[in-house]
Symmetry: C2
Subunit: 145 residues, 2 copies
DNA sequence: CATTCTGTATCAATTTTTGATACAATAAAT
DNA sequence: ATTTATTGTATCAAAAATTGATACAGAATG
């Protein structure tokens, strides 16, 4: 993969998980972080973070609140969130993709290769997903603290 | 993945495998194909194919011969070649990559995330590799013929 | 009503990938 | 020997994808 979205999304989720754990009071607000704060540690632009936030929110992994004193927080316990949840939330393109150019009708292999690659792609995503599913966010933050 | 190298490499290897099986005589030449021929079915430029050929050759998956009447042929039986052999031959960048920007020294998560992503990346490649290793080139050509 | 967030559109900048031309190295064929 | 055809590579242009940056509407607080 050429893009850093997943790495940044994991950073965001880890920060939110730690923030959630830090919180001792029942004060919901104390676990809120905004895109500017998150952008610092990820060393990127706040809009890049907000784009990730949108995806993570749509997938139900975080809660966002707009307006003054708004921000972002985890929607679930870190033990209930896997890396696959984060990965699929981003809706990235498959790691293995086909050549979308038209096939050479004269060549049976060229005609069949599209379907072949599709099958391989599905198998690959499944294998990757299974691994990512085994990794919980709660495991990640243990190693950091 | 954004690139079509793997899809094209699988096409090339499939063509060569079928070519090898077609051959009834002991004439080694009859299984040779050149980059121009392979480029037609892949609907791309011959140089793109030659770049793939180089990688596949370096990995010992095919034999190449230069000069007039030169070309390419499989170096092993299709049953002894897996999709992982093809994948690793291309030396593509990892599907999950880290953000190579410097960490925020103030933030423990930012400092630790690099190593975290590396570990995830290794696990992902391993999972993907294991799946691809289970798929043999000989299985692919069965479905086409 | 001012302030400060997210959400999103838009465009520029950067990076990656692919395509194309050219040519040296090599081997066969004539 | 000379011509011809092929891989291997360098180089550059073109295209595509990703990221960065500015701007602003929508929303919630104070």
């Amino acid at each position: 993969m050429v893009n850093k979205q997943f790495a940044n999304a994991v950073y965001v989720m880890t920060m939110l998980a730690i923030q959630k754990n830090k919180k001792t009071t029942a004060d919901e607000k104390s676990e809120l972080m905004n895109s500017e704060q998150l952008a610092v540690g990820a060393n990127t632009n706040a809009v890049v973070i907000r784009r990730l936030i949108c995806s993570l929110s749509r997938a139900g992994l975080i809660h966002t609140t707009r307006g003054k004193a708004g921000g972002v927080s985890l929607a679930k316990e870190p033990a209930l969130i896997t890396l696959n949840d984060i990965y699929t939330a981003l809706e990235l393109s498959d790691t293995i993709s086909h050549n979308e150019k038209p096939a050479d009708k004269e060549c049976p292999v060229s005609c069949a290769i599209h379907q072949t690659i599709m099958t391989i792609s599905e198998g690959s995503e499944k294998a990757l997903g299974k691994y990512l599913e085994s990794q919980k966010l709660s495991d990640l933050i243990k190693k950091i603290k």
